[in-house]
Amino acid sequence: MTTRRTALTFWLFVGPFAFGLLAFTYLPIAWSGYLSVFDARNTVTPTEFVGLANYVDVLTDRAFLDSIGTFTVFAAFIIPTTVVLSLALALLVNQIRVARAFFRSVYFLPFACSYVVASLVWKMSLFSGVDSGIANTVFGWFGAEPLAWTGTVDPPLYWVVLITARLWLQLGFYVILFLAALQRIPAHLYEAAWIDGAAPGWQTFRHITLPGLRGALIAVLTLNLINAYQAFDEFYNILGDSRGYPPFARPPLVYLYYTSLGPGGQDLGRGSAGAVVLALVIALVTLLSGRVLRRAD
């Protein structure tokens, strides 16, 4: 009787979730794998089996390879920047004695903003190309000519727009993660170190704070890595338009979006093959980075 009760309760709680996971996550993943070996243009129930042709297509498509390459470089830049900046902010906020709640929430606020809204503000107001744009107004005070921020390719000023938007949006979240971890480091460790003659500052940071943050660091790095490859919202909204997307700063997901769901025609076979390749790349990079981090221990 108790077993039955437990089983019923178990299924009542787990059933709907398990069903949702199955129907809306695992089934689509499996379906995507299935589509990737078919010629599936404008259909989700294709009939023409093409084997690995879609994979060959995406792996020889310069646009796709470029997007993976660009985003490896992007990840290599944005991850250290985010980690260093959010850790520095967390350390500062952690030290503050007055208005703590205010400073903690003020850094977290941007995280609550929609990526789409922020992108539009960045594109049309902050970094608009006309002289009334905020960035151009500020530079104008120093006598600079108005710059077309999102339209200038040489030098690639659009990266300034994309990266500041991303940093503003995501830093707060990592600051909170680091803050939580900082507060879990026992205070007596620092006290003991000071008694033993360690200088406050770099020495205690290097030998107490940093080791204490190991778990948080690994979490932040991994989340950041996945986020970098998942880049879509601000890129699509800042650089994309109704006619398409320029061939530079094109994240893999934007490429896949235009391939499999674009307005001109939906090539779900090729898009699925690209998605599988991208998933493998992310898995591989995450595994590798996990291994590197563990070795660094």
Partner: protein, 412 residues
């Protein structure tokens, strides 16, 4: 124990049934009550929505529900056509893939003896394998608008060749005003087609069986877009399809739609001049792109015959509605020659000139056989050439390869 297993299998069975139910949902059966669902994209001009709802309500043959679709309408249609019986009737430009997958039905018998009245090039653009799939609703076109006073002040004449255009844009760029606005992507999206035509080339060859830009002159003409780049307005608050940049005086010339003519005339009055896209040299021609959303019928519609009858009523028989639709809200050209003469805003001034551009040099901007993948490859190449200064010949060779591959696929 036995009960527990039973319960578990119940869940499994229930789950599978649920999935099976999803799988067998073809989207049919929604409109058993005979209501026709008609989709439009969200027209920017005031009054269009009210007008098309009024037309639908006036149809005597069936109840018609109009759905207005803001946002990415073209993607939405592509998705709907794959599995859904809704919409029954919609506006779009035909794609070869839709025909191959039998997602739309031929409308050859809808036109009757009015066939010759429709602009022939428009009908051809909606024809695949000899069958007509869309009834053109109204013609859209794009032209070069310029401010006479600014050109005069800079001492340039209205540009009649691509070189003159490059030169004019350069000389008009001064004091916070840019020479030309052709989109925040540096003209790649809207000028690619007119540039090809200016050199006597096209996306596809005459018979549609080969790319139309396998020619060294393609490299030359896209190189001109590179020369134009420093004089272009980039990063404007609204894109090329909006008259804002030109109206606010951010650029001396703008490439934008005929639909903006009323707003532009209201802002600058007699100071407005219009031109077609100039030609590169003697072997090219002046041109304007023409396109038309056309009324099409979903092959999965619960009642294809009723949907066709409605399309025939609205877009063939009700000529007064067609005239109003094309000319009363923003400027468009009627898709039928017999109605063009009645269009008020196009009887004189720049409007009349634009009608002449269309008659003389109107070209189809998105042929049915020109696929999205080919288009992406070409616009990537043009973007690299014009914006990043890439070497044109190699870039175009890569685009040609993709285009050939795509064309071959259509006939497999």
């Amino acid at each position: 124990m036995g009960v527990e297993v039973g319960r578990r299998s119940f869940f499994v069975v229930a789950g599978l049934l649920g999935l099976a139910a999803c799988g067998s949902n073809t989207g049919r059966g929604g409109s058993t009550d005979g209501t026709l669902r008609h989709w439009y994209h969200a027209y920017g001009e005031d009054g269009v929505q009210d007008a098309v709802r009024r037309y639908a309500a006036a149809y005597p043959g069936a109840k018609v529900e109009v759905q207005w679709n803001p946002g990415d309408y073209d993607s939405k249609i592509v998705t709907a056509l794959q599995t859904s019986a809704v919409p029954d009737v919609f506006e779009a430009q035909v794609k070869v893939d839709w025909v191959r997958q039998k997602q739309v039905v031929p409308l050859d018998d809808v036109l009757g003896d009015t066939r010759d009245d429709f602009v022939r090039a428009l009908l051809e653009s909606q024809t695949v394998d000899g069958h007509l799939y869309g009834i053109p609703q109204a013609i859209d076109t794009q032209v070069l608008y310029y401010r006479r006073s600014l050109l005069e002040k800079a001492g340039v004449t209205p540009p009649r060749s691509v070189d003159e255009l490059v030169d004019a844009a350069k000389r008009l760029t001064a004091g916070g005003v840019k020479g030309l606005f052709a989109g925040n992507d540096g003209g790649v999206g809207v000028l690619t087609a007119p540039l090809l035509w200016s050199a006597g080339l096209d996306f596809l060859s005459q018979d549609g069986k080969a790319p139309g830009f396998d020619d060294p002159r393609a490299a030359t003409v896209f190189g001109k877009l590179r020369e134009l780049n420093p004089s272009l307005l980039l990063g404007a608050p609204a894109d090329w399809s909006d008259p804002g940049a030109f109206v606010d005086g951010l650029a001396a010339m703008q490439w934008t739609g005929l639909w903006n003519l009323p707003k532009i005339l209201a802002a600058h009055g007699d100071d407005v001049g219009v031109l077609p896209f100039p030609r590169l040299d003697a072997s090219g021609a002046e041109s304007v792109p023409v396109g038309a959303y056309s009324a099409m019928v979903n092959a999965r519609s619960a009642d294809v015959a009723a949907a066709k009858a409605y399309v025939k009523w609205l877009w063939v028989e009700k000529t007064d509605y067609q005239t109003e639709f094309a000319t009363a809200f923003g400027a468009h050209l009627p898709a039928r020659t017999s109605l063009a003469a009645q269009a008020g805003p196009l009887r004189d001034g720049p409007g009349k000139q634009i009608v002449e551009f269309v008659t003389r040099g109107g070209r189809i901007a998105s042929p049915a056989r020109w696929s999205a993948r080919a288009n992406t490859a070409l616009s990537d190449a043009v973007s690299r050439i014009a914006r990043q200064g890439a070497e044109p010949v190699g870039e175009l060779r890569a685009a040609l390869e993709v285009a050939r591959d795509e064309i071959a696929r259509l006939d497999r």
